[in-house]
């Protein structure tokens, strides 16, 4: 199976014109997913995705859930709208490594351990609410959230896939229960192997399967070294790569790092898949 490449849009500086140009370049280069982070000093990733969805046609948008800042019913409603606006191109990311200072900056007073417990409840509710409203609606009284008569009136046509990052036990449990993809930071092969094996078991215990992703920095590394890391990761079963860089151009990355790999996959895989890459 071919790997998925995610381009991280740099929004710490610049304006909408620059972000749109970089996003378009990433789409043209063949990146399947655009990661839009959120945080102090950056634009809201969801709104930027809504804007970019109007001019980009293929790339999917990976935006952050923020359990401390908005209720799960609102996140669900917003996700449904963004699915609608983008033609089902939304993917959700639960960052589990938000620093307490960043959380407090936005007014979320919870400490780190509580945030994991809250996120678990959040994801559970988000999934239940996104099935739509039936009968008298969903009523729950959880530890962090209470709902009476809930459920989205306009559920999404398709639920957005969930990406979870982080390697703490809490993050792994969350991913096993809810995520489609769990992300790792780059680590020695032995360590990655051990983590992946452990997470597979955790997911299996939930009757689920997980995909594995890895975050790769393009800064300070030559593309040859990165290509080597990609090979190592793919050999371990990792098939989603979140590329992060402070200055690289997506089309150059495609040409010098990914193009060769794509043609290699085309040769390896069935014609049906090659069709998919072209379209």
């Amino acid at each position: 199976m071919a790997s998925e490449f995610i381009w991280t849009l740099r929004t710490e500086a610049g304006d909408v014109r620059r972000w749109a140009n970089e996003a378009r370049a990433a789409e043209l280069a063949g990146f399947q997913v655009l990661r839009l982070t959120s945080g102090p000093g950056r634009p809201d990733g969801w709104l930027l995705a809504a804007r970019l969805a109007m001019e980009l046609t293929r790339i999917r948008f990976l935006v952050d859930l923020r359990p401390g800042l908005e209720l799960p019913a609102v996140a669900g409603q917003r996700a449904a709208t963004l699915q609608h606006l983008s033609g089902q191109r939304l993917a959700l990311c639960l960052p589990t490594d938000v620093e307490a200072a960043a959380a407090r900056h936005d007014g979320d007073p919870l400490n780190h351990d509580d945030r994991h417990a809250r996120a678990a409840e959040y994801l559970r509710l988000l999934r239940q609410l996104s099935k739509g409203r039936t009968g008298a609606g969903l009523s729950v009284a959880g530890e962090y959230y209470r709902i009476e008569g809930g459920g989205l009136h306009r559920p999404p046509a398709e639920p957005a896939p969930l990406y979870v990052g982080g390697t703490t036990p809490g993050a792994e449990r969350l991913a096993a229960q809810h995520a489609q993809v769990i992300f790792h930071a780059m680590a020695p092969a032995a360590e990655l192997t051990e983590r992946i094996a452990r997470q597979r078991v955790l997911a299996l215990q939930q009757g689920r399967s997980l995909r594995f992703g890895c975050r790769l920095s393009l800064d300070g590394a030559c593309f040859g070294a990165v290509a080597g890391q990609l090979d190592d990761c793919e050999a371990l079963g990792i098939d989603s790569f979140l590329l992060v860089s402070s200055g690289a151009d997506p089309q150059r990355v495609e040409k010098e790092l990914l193009a060769g790999r794509r043609s290699a996959w085309r040769a390896r895989t069935a014609p049906a898949f090659a069709e998919g890459v072209r379209s």
């Binding site: 709208t81 900056h105 709902i147």
Partner: protein
């Protein structure tokens, strides 16, 4: 406050046409040929349809569009980001409630929206109804909700001005000792709220106080009360009206269409809506319900609670409707303008047909009232004042 209005009393006022603004409400909870779903063809609400309505509104000279908030709508801010790519100057009014998100988060989202769309973002506080709030996961008492909204707007507007915020209350905890960058333009704040608790928040924070369309006599009272509260708070405030419109070439055709809408309400829908509305502590809603006597008035013309103001739509929705010929609807809007209302947020069924008709046939007629003094009859006032559910 003792009512100065008695049967036969009139109010004189000028229509300052250049100060009037008109928004169209985008039907983000779906649209169709009837007041509520059920019968008739599939309701429309696809992205292209909503974009089309906004484009028509811009082309026909509307000042803006309003994106409502509620459990059944698409998210307003996200839609605004999309609409901005197809419109140039249309103001984008994003409705919000204070419960479901933290104020700093809201402030940042609106700041982003302004960054993406230019300085044409407006926000509108709508507290919503209790059953809706609880389905979001927000459990709060009516008056407490407005105290919270007060804090919410204090924090959000301070952040927009780039000021430091240190806030600690049972509702919010925020510690930003250093200010940030101020927004290019402060988003204009609209706010609904007819209760005393709402009045104070509106007077302190809103640029425009929105009200649902009641008979002119009752609106005149609310205008006085709002302006008095604003004066106490040392602020100037504009007033706005949220009303649906149903206009046709002739009065007869318009009422025939209203009759069709009334007949098209599915069995039991009025009772269901009124049971739900009745559970709410919203004062604005209680005032509207009093107009149709909590759903007991059912006749087409007995629901005409003052000339051309039809409470029939309020049997299943919150809003009343101006029904009449193009000229009549223009005249009624001019009367509200003469009472001091400046910002109008309109809608109609179905919205694409209605925005075109109002833009082409009704708004141009308003210019003939420009700078003219109008005499507004407040004759119907006594029929409502002090009636059940209407706070004096």
């Amino acid at each position: 406050m003792a009512s100065p209005h008695r049967a036969g009393v009139c109010r004189r006022g000028q229509v300052l046409i250049n100060e009037l603004t008109f928004h169209w409400q985008v039907p983000t909870s779906g649209d169709g040929p009837q007041l509520i779903g059920g019968r008739g063809p599939q309701r429309r609400g696809g992205l292209d349809y909503l974009l089309h309505i906004a484009c028509v509104a811009e082309e026909l000279g509307f000042d803006g569009v309003m994106l409502p908030t509620g459990v059944a709508t698409e998210d307003g801010a996200l839609l605004a980001a999309a609409l901005a790519t197809r419109t140039d100057r249309l103001k984008l009014m994003v409705s919000f409630r204070a419960g479901p998100e933290l104020p700093a988060h809201f402030a940042q989202r609106i700041a982003t929206l302004q960054q993406l769309c230019g300085p044409r973002i407006q926000v509108c506080l709508f507290n919503g109804f209790e059953t809706e709030q609880r389905s979001y996961g927000d459990f709060i008492e009516h008056d407490e909700a407005y105290r919270r909204a007060d804090e919410f707007l204090s924090i959000a507007t301070a952040l927009w001005r780039g000021e430091p915020v240190q806030h600690a209350s049972p509702h919010y905890l925020l510690d930003r000792r250093e200010g940030g960058r101020a927004l290019q333009a402060q988003p204009q704040v609209f706010a609904f709220g007819a209760s005393d608790a709402a009045g104070e928040v509106v007077a302190r924070h809103a640029d425009v106080h929105m009200m649902w369309a009641e008979p002119p006599a009752l609106v005149a009272q609310r205008v006085q009360r709002t302006l008095a509260l604003a004066a106490e708070a040392g602020r100037e405030l504009r007033l706005g009206l949220r009303v649906a419109v149903l206009a046709r070439d002739t009065e007869e055709e318009a009422w025939e269409e209203a009759g069709r809408l009334l007949a098209g309400i599915p069995d039991g829908a009025i009772e269901q809506a009124q049971r739900e509305f009745g559970r709410s502590r919203s004062v604005g809603l209680a005032r509207i319900r009093a107009l149709h006597r909590q759903g007991r008035l059912r006749g087409l013309r007995e629901l005409e609670v003052s000339p051309n103001l039809w409470a029939g739509s309020a049997l299943v929705r919150g809003t009343t409707t101006l029904v009449g010929s193009h000229a009549q609807v223009a005249e009624r809007l001019a009367e509200y303008a003469a009472l001091g209302l400046r910002s109008f947020v309109l809608s109609g069924v179905p919205n694409l047909d209605a925005v075109r008709r109002i833009g082409e046939q009704v708004l141009p007629r308003l210019s003939r009232y420009s700078q003219k003094e109008i005499v507004v009859p407040l004759a119907a006032a006594d029929a409502y004042i002090g009636m059940q559910g209407v706070p004096p």
